[in-house]
C-alpha cells in the first residue's frame, strides 16, 4: 500500500450548490500534495471532508486502509490526521504551550478520577506531555514564546503555532490550509524549509496555498480544482503548462 | 364540544398575547442576534403602568370606556417603548462588540433589575385591575357565548400584528430593519443608520410587549411582578416555535402555543399547565431547532 489517503468520488452539496463534485485523488505515503484552484473551487471543503468537519454526500475517503466517512473530527485526529485552519483558530486567550498541549490531548489517557486525584500515573503523563509539547515548539521555532498568550504572537508565528499544535498529536498526515497566508517573504521561505523538514520526519502533507512559488517548489504532486470539479492532476511542471489550468486561472475563453 | 370551543377561543386570546410578546423577542433577535431576556419584564412593566393609569389617574372614568382604552394603549405603548430604548442604550449598546454571552448576562441582569424595580415600587403582592373597564358581557358567535374581553384581546393583538407586518413589509424603515437583520455591515455600507434601526426595533418590540401586558391585566384582572418571566419564557417558546427572527413565525407560534396550552390544561392536566410550554420548547429545540418557519439555531461548524 503506497497510498496513505485515497479520495474516491467525493461529492458535497450545500443547499443547491455542489461545492465538491465527484472528486478523486490519491496521496502517496511521504509525499507533499498541493491542492490548488481559484477561490471558491472547493479546496477547503475537501479538507473539511477529510477531517470530518463535513460529511460526504457521496463517495468515500480511505486513510491507511480505514474508511473515514461518518467519523467525528476528533476520531480522525486520533487516527493520525491533523490539520491547521485557513482562518487561524488558536485558543487566543491561552498560552502558546497550552495550545500545543491541546494537540497532545488525544495521545493522553488520564480520566476524570485520575485528574481529580493527581494520581502518580497522571503526573507522569503530564510531565511527558509537557516535554513533548516543548519539543514541538522547539521544532517550529517558538520555544521561547511558550509562556506567552497565543494572541500576542505575530500572524506568521500564529500559523507556526497551529502547525505545532497539529504535530503534537503525532499525525501521519498533516493538512495545511493556506499555511503561508499573511506571511512575509522571509517567513514563507522559512515555512518552506519547515515543510521539507516535516517531510523528512516521515510525514505526509496535503496543503492548500495561493503562493504559487511555494506550491511549485514544495509539492511533488498537484491537484487542481475548479467549481468543485477536479480539472487536472500531476507534477508541478506538467500542471504549469496545462491549458485547462491556465484557462481556469486566467479566465481565457 | 362547547368546552372545546371555549378553550379554543381562550387559547387564541392568550396566544394573541404570547404572539405580541414574541414579536419583541424575534425582532430584537433579528437585528442583534441577542435574546433580550429583559423583554418579559418590559411586558410586566406595561401591565403595571396600565394599572397605575387606570387606578391612580382614573383615566377610564374621565374620558369614557372606549376612548379611555385607546388612550391607555397609546400611553402604555409609548412609555414601555421608551423604557425599551433606554435599556438598549444603557445595557446593550456598550456590549455590541463584546462576546455574545456578555450581552446575554447583561440582559439577564436587566431582567432582574426591571422586575425588582417593579417590586420595589408596587410591592410584591398581587395587584387587581379595577373592575368594569369593559362590560362583562358575552357575545354570541355561532351559538357560542364568548366573553367580550376575550374577543377584544384577540382583535387588538391581531390588529397590532397586521399593522406591524404592513410596516415591516411596506415602509422604507421596515425595509431598513429587514436589511439590518440580514447583514448589518452591508446595511451600514448602503447608508442605513444601523444604530438608529436597532433603536427603533427596541421601541417597537417593547411597545408591543407593553400592550400585551395591558391586555393580560384586562383579561385576567390581576398582575404580579414576576409575571414577566413566565410570560416571557412562554413567548420566547412561541418565537422559537415559529422560527426565531421570523415575524410571521412569531405570530403563528404564539397562537399555536396558546391553543396547545389551553387545550392541554383542559384535557390533560391543569397542574402541569406551566410545564407544557417548556416541553414544547425542549421538543422543538431537539427535533426542529429552526422552528416552523425560521433559521437554524444549533451550532454550525
Amino acid at each position: 500500500m503506497s497510498n496513505l489517503l485515497e479520495i474516491c468520488g467525493v461529492t458535497k452539496v450545500f443547499g443547491g450548490l455542489t461545492a465538491v463534485d465527484n472528486v478523486s485523488f490519491d496521496v502517496r505515503r511521504g509525499s507533499i500534495v498541493g491542492l490548488i484552484g481559484p477561490n471558491g473551487a472547493g479546496k477547503t471543503t475537501v479538507f473539511n471532508l477529510i477531517t470530518g468537519n463535513y460529511r460526504c454526500d457521496r463517495g468515500e475517503i480511505v486513510f491507511d486502509g480505514q474508511l473515514l466517512s461518518r467519523l467525528p473530527p476528533h476520531k480522525i485526529v486520533y487516527l493520525g490526521i491533523a490539520r491547521t485552519f485557513q482562518t487561524i483558530r488558536l485558543f487566543q486567550n491561552m498560552s502558546v504551550l497550552e495550545n500545543v498541549l491541546a494537540g497532545r490531548h488525544c495521545r493522553m489517557k488520564a480520566g476524570l478520577l485520575a485528574s481529580m486525584l493527581h494520581l502518580p500515573s497522571e503526573r507522569k503523563e503530564e510531565r511527558e506531555a509537557l516535554k513533548f509539547a516543548l519539543h514541538e515548539l522547539e521544532f517550529v521555532g517558538l520555544r521561547e514564546h511558550a509562556a506567552q498568550r497565543a494572541s500576542s504572537l505575530s500572524y506568521g508565528n500564529q500559523r507556526l503555532l497551529e502547525i505545532a499544535r497539529a504535530l503534537a498529536s503525532e499525525p501521519r498526515l498533516l493538512i495545511l490550509d493556506e499555511p503561508a497566508g499573511g506571511m512575509n517573504e522571509q517567513e514563507t521561505e522559512e515555512l518552506m524549509a519547515l515543510i521539507k523538514k516535516l517531510q523528512s520526519r516521515g510525514l505526509t502533507i496535503i496543503l492548500i496555498e495561493h503562493d504559487m512559488n511555494l506550491v511549485m517548489q514544495a509539492c511533488e504532486h498537484l491537484v487542481v480544482l475548479e467549481y468543485g470539479r477536479k480539472i487536472a492532476e500531476g507534477p508541478p511542471e506538467e500542471i504549469q503548462n496545462n491549458p485547462k489550468v491556465i484557462e481556469a486561472y486566467l479566465g481565457v475563453d | 364540544m362547547e368546552e372545546f370551543f371555549q378553550q379554543l377561543t381562550n387559547g387564541l386570546a392568550v396566544g394573541g398575547i404570547y404572539a405580541l410578546i414574541a414579536l419583541g423577542y424575534t425582532m430584537v433577535y433579528g437585528v442583534l442576534k441577542l435574546i433580550n431576556f429583559a423583554h418579559g419584564d418590559l411586558f410586566a412593566l406595561g401591565a403595571y403602568l396600565g394599572l397605575t393609569l387606570l387606578t391612580s389617574l382614573g383615566l377610564n372614568s374621565r374620558v369614557g370606556p372606549l376612548a379611555g382604552l385607546a388612550l391607555l394603549v397609546v400611553f402604555v405603548t409609548g412609555l414601555v417603548a421608551l423604557a425599551g430604548a433606554l435599556l438598549e442604550r444603557a445595557a446593550y449598546r456598550p456590549l455590541r462588540q463584546s462576546p455574545r454571552l456578555s450581552a446575554v448576562v447583561s440582559a439577564l441582569g436587566a431582567s432582574i433589575f426591571i422586575q425588582n424595580t417593579i417590586m420595589l415600587i408596587y410591592g410584591s403582592k398581587i395587584h387587581v385591575y379595577p373592575k368594569g373597564i369593559l362590560p362583562a358581557v358575552a357575545v354570541n358567535i355561532f351559538g357560542l357565548q364568548v366573553p367580550l374581553v376575550r374577543i377584544l384581546v384577540f382583535v387588538v393583538s391581531l390588529l397590532l400584528m397586521a399593522a406591524l407586518f404592513a410596516f415591516i413589509q411596506k415602509t422604507r424603515l421596515g425595509t431598513a430593519i429587514r436589511a439590518v437583520a440580514i447583514d448589518q455591515d452591508a446595511a451600514r455600507l448602503m447608508g442605513i443608520n444601523v444604530d438608529q434601526v436597532i433603536m427603533i426595533v427596541f421601541l417597537i418590540g417593547p411597545g408591543l410587549g407593553g400592550v400585551a401586558g395591558l391586555l393580560v391585566g384586562l383579561y385576567y384582572g390581576q398582575v404580579n411582578f414576576t409575571m414577566g418571566w413566565i410570560y416571557g419564557l412562554k413567548a420566547f417558546t412561541a418565537a422559537i416555535l415559529g422560527g426565531i427572527g421570523n415575524i410571521p413565525g412569531a405570530m403563528l407560534g404564539g397562537l399555536i402555543l396558546g391553543v396547545i396550552e389551553a387545550l392541554g390544561a383542559a384535557y390533560v392536566s391543569v397542574a402541569w399547565k406551566d410545564a407544557i410550554a417548556f416541553l414544547v420548547l425542549i421538543v422543538i429545540l431537539i427535533a426542529r431547532p429552526k422552528g416552523l418557519l425560521g433559521e437554524r439555531v444549533a451550532d454550525k461548524i
Binding site: 485526529v77 476524570l112 497522571e122 520555544r143 | 420595589l120 429545540l285 431547532p289
Partner: protein, 317 residues
C-alpha cells in the same frame, strides 16, 4: 505565589475561628454561604470552565436533596450514606437531561435549562411517582451521624459543610490543572478548534455537566440534612439565578472568585438585615451589578488566573 499561599492560610485560619467566635445564628449564615459556595463551585465546572449556560442548576440540587430525604425517611439509610447516592443520581439525571440539548448554542441552552429546572420543580409539586410529598415536601429527615458523633447544632454543621467545601476546592483545583480541565478550556474557547485538535468535545461537555450536576446533588444532600425538611419552593427558579449570579459576578472559571461570590451574594445582604429596605432590594442590586459588570469588567471580580507550568524551563533538553 507566596502571597497567594499566605492568603489561603489566612483565610483557612479565619474560617476555623468562625464556629468558636460567633453565635449560632451567625455560624448558620456561614453554613448557608458554604452551601452556596458548593453549588456555585459545581455550576462553575459547567458554566465557568466548560462555558455552558446552565440556569436550571437548582434542579440537580433538588434531585440530590429529595434522593437523600427519601432514602433517609423511607428506608432509614443514614443521611451521610446517601451523599454518594444523591450525587450519582443527580449526575445521571444531569446526563439524561443534557444529552439531547448539549449541542445547542449558549443562549438557547440557557433557556432550555430554565425550562428543565421548572419542569423538575412542577414535577416535585405534583408529587411524581408519589415520592416527593407534593407541595409540602418531605419532613422528618434525620440528623447526620459522623462516626458516632451526631451533628445537630450550627457549629457542628459548619465543620461538615466547610469540610466538604475544602475537599471540593482541593479536587476541583487539581482537576483544573489537568488534561480534563484543559479540555474544558479548549472547548469553551473554540469548539471547532478543540474538536479539530482531537478533543471529543461532546463527551467533555457531557462529563462536565454530569460532574457539576452530581456535585450539586451532594450539596442538596447536605442541605436536606441541615434543614431536616425540604419542599419544592427551596429549589425554584430564583435559586438557579442566585447560583448563576455568584459564578458570573465572582469570576467564572476561578475557584477563589466563586467562593468570594458566595460571600458577597449570600453573606453581604446579611450585614444589612436590619435595614429592611436594603434586604428587599437585594436582587435589584444584583441585577444592576450584572449589567455594570458586563459593561466594565466582563470577567467578574476575580478573573481566571493563567495556568502555571512550574518546570517549563527544566524541560529544555
Amino acid at each position: 505565589m507566596n502571597r497567594r499561599m499566605w492568603g489561603i492560610i489566612a483565610f483557612v485560619a479565619a474560617m476555623a475561628a468562625v464556629p468558636f467566635c460567633l453565635n449560632p445564628y451567625q455560624v448558620d449564615v456561614f453554613n448557608n454561604i458554604g452551601l452556596y459556595a458548593l453549588l456555585a463551585l459545581s455550576l462553575n465546572i459547567i458554566l465557568g470552565d466548560a462555558g455552558m449556560y446552565n440556569m436550571g442548576h437548582a434542579a440537580f440540587y433538588a434531585v440530590g436533596a429529595y434522593t437523600a430525604a427519601f432514602l433517609n425517611t423511607q428506608l432509614g439509610i443514614g443521611i451521610l450514606w446517601t451523599l454518594p447516592i444523591s450525587g450519582i443520581l443527580a449526575g445521571l439525571v444531569g446526563l439524561v437531561l443534557a444529552r439531547p440539548v448539549i449541542h445547542l448554542r449558549g443562549d438557547y441552552l440557557l433557556i432550555v435549562t430554565v425550562g428543565v429546572g421548572e419542569i423538575v420543580r412542577i414535577a416535585l409539586i405534583n408529587n411524581v411517582f408519589g415520592v416527593t410529598g407534593g407541595p409540602n415536601g418531605i419532613f422528618g429527615i434525620a440528623r447526620p451521624v459522623f462516626f458516632g458523633f451526631k451533628i445537630a447544632k450550627p457549629h457542628e454543621f459548619f465543620f461538615l459543610i466547610w469540610g466538604f467545601v475544602a475537599l471540593t476546592v482541593l479536587l476541583f483545583s487539581s482537576l483544573k490543572n489537568s488534561r480534563f480541565g484543559r479540555a474544558l478550556d479548549y472547548l469553551r474557547e473554540d469548539h471547532v478548534a478543540a474538536e479539530g485538535s482531537g478533543i471529543d468535545t461532546a463527551r467533555y461537555q457531557l462529563l462536565a455537566f454530569m460532574l457539576g450536576a452530581a456535585w450539586a446533588g451532594m450539596a442538596g444532600c447536605l442541605y436536606a440534612s441541615k434543614m431536616s425538611i425540604i419542599s419544592p419552593e427551596s429549589f425554584n427558579f430564583w435559586e438557579s439565578v442566585v447560583i448563576f449570579i455568584i459564578v458570573i459576578l465572582g469570576g467564572s472559571g476561578n475557584i477563589a472568585g466563586v467562593i468570594l461570590g458566595a460571600f458577597l451574594i449570600v453573606g453581604l445582604p446579611e450585614l444589612f438585615r436590619e435595614f429592611k429596605a436594603f434586604s428587599q432590594a437585594r436582587m435589584w442590586f444584583f441585577g444592576l451589578a450584572m449589567m455594570i459588570m458586563m459593561v466594565f469588567r466582563t470577567e467578574g471580580i476575580l478573573p481566571p488566573r493563567p495556568r502555571v507550568f512550574k518546570d517549563i524551563d527544566r524541560n529544555v533538553s
